[in-house]
């Protein structure tokens, strides 16, 4: 049985949300201050909520009886199809906030467009997610501005984070055969059309943050087809441990 484009597409959306949500959860108990500890946990839970909705729907589309847990806990790294950006390590606080800004500055206009999908379920999930992503943009942007326009050290770290992560932003806007089929069917938004919105958001924040936007340069790619950095394996080892060791364990 070959998988349908809609299944693969929905799975990508789910994997993006789960992996980034898990990354944020790694901060819980370790954030610089209590307020930010809760903020990062909140952002993570928004994403994990989105992941659940997408996984449930992906399982229905596939029709082979896999539920959200089977899709999240029982697939190996090569079967994960998240973009490389979301699996990048938390690094310092600037790296985490920069990664969040890059992702949410894309995801916010993306979900805004996905609300108009001909697929009613994707449109409904997007309608909920769009408000969450708007807050993610606001929170991460305010931090990037304060770090960039802060002390010498915070500026240096924020610039470093931007330079390190920029190479993972190109993949957000790629459209392969899977996506093009769905764009033509009116189910998926054309991400190329979201580029201007992303660029404007990043330019505004970087101007205010006194940060240099990295040049276009070489863009990493492959996560959506299962070619990942070594980081994803470590994420899944922790994320999937319980279900791998005690299959079927429940709360």
């Amino acid at each position: 049985m070959t998988e349908t484009p809609l299944f693969r597409y929905t799975l990508r959306l789910a994997d993006n949300a789960l992996v980034l949500g898990h990354r944020l959860s790694e901060w819980v108990g370790r954030a610089p201050v209590l307020e930010e500890d809760l903020a990062l946990g909140n952002l993570g839970l928004d994403l994990i909520g989105q992941a659940r909705a997408f996984y449930v729907y992906a399982g229905e589309i596939e029709g082979r009886g896999r539920d959200e847990d089977a899709l999240a806990y029982l697939r190996d790294a090569g079967e994960y199809c998240n973009v490389l950006l979301v699996e990048q390590p938390n690094g310092d606080f600037a790296a985490t906030m920069m990664r969040q800004l890059f992702y949410s500055a894309f995801a916010h206009p993306f979900f805004e467009a996905l609300q108009k999908s001909r697929d009613a379920t994707l449109a409904a999930i997007a309608a909920k997610a769009v408000k969450e992503m708007a807050y993610h943009v606001r929170h991460s942007a305010e931090w990037v501005i304060r770090l960039g326009d802060g002390t010498d050290e915070s500026h240096r770290r924020a610039q470093q984070a931007a330079d390190d992560l920029w190479t993972y932003t190109g993949e957000l806007f790629e459209a392969d055969a899977v996506e093009r089929a769905l764009i033509e069917a009116g189910i998926a938004p054309d991400t190329a059309a979201l580029r201007a919105s992303f660029d404007n958001a990043i330019n505004d924040v970087f101007d205010e943050a006194t940060l240099q936007r990295p040049g276009s340069g070489f863009m990493q790619s492959g996560g959506r087809d299962g070619r990942h950095s070594e980081h994803l394996g470590f994420i899944l080892t922790e994320l999937q441990f319980l279900q791998r060791v005690y299959p079927g364990a429940k709360w």
């Binding site: 201050v33 209590l34 307020e35 903020a39 929170h139 305010e142």
Partner: protein
């Protein structure tokens, strides 16, 4: 690394059913915008509010606990200020 504390802000929330903002606690934040975000993240996680205020704690002028008697004692003997001596006609119902 500096260990200086960020400024403290007092947080007020107007709930779904409430008419006025109520004090709920405080947060640390570098400035007003972040104080608002921190208040949102710390105090409205369970759908508590429809509106948020944050006020720099330093802007609050507090009465001195040592002045308690001078400030509040005189009212104790003025029970006629409590509206409990009126007969409420039945037609008024529950007030």
């Amino acid at each position: 690394m500096t260990e200086k504390n960020w400024p403290l802000w007092e947080v007020f929330i107007r709930s779904r059913t409430g008419l006025a903002h109520r004090h709920v606690g405080s947060v640390h934040a570098v400035d007003a915008e972040m104080a608002l975000q921190n208040a949102r993240d710390v105090y409205t996680r369970r759908g508590e509010g429809l509106s948020l205020w944050v006020v720099p704690s330093s802007a609050i002028v507090a009465s001195d606990p040592a002045d308690k008697d001078l400030m509040f004692e005189p009212t104790a003997s003025k029970i006629y200020r409590h509206p409990t001596f009126y007969d409420v006609p039945d037609e008024v119902g529950h007030m």
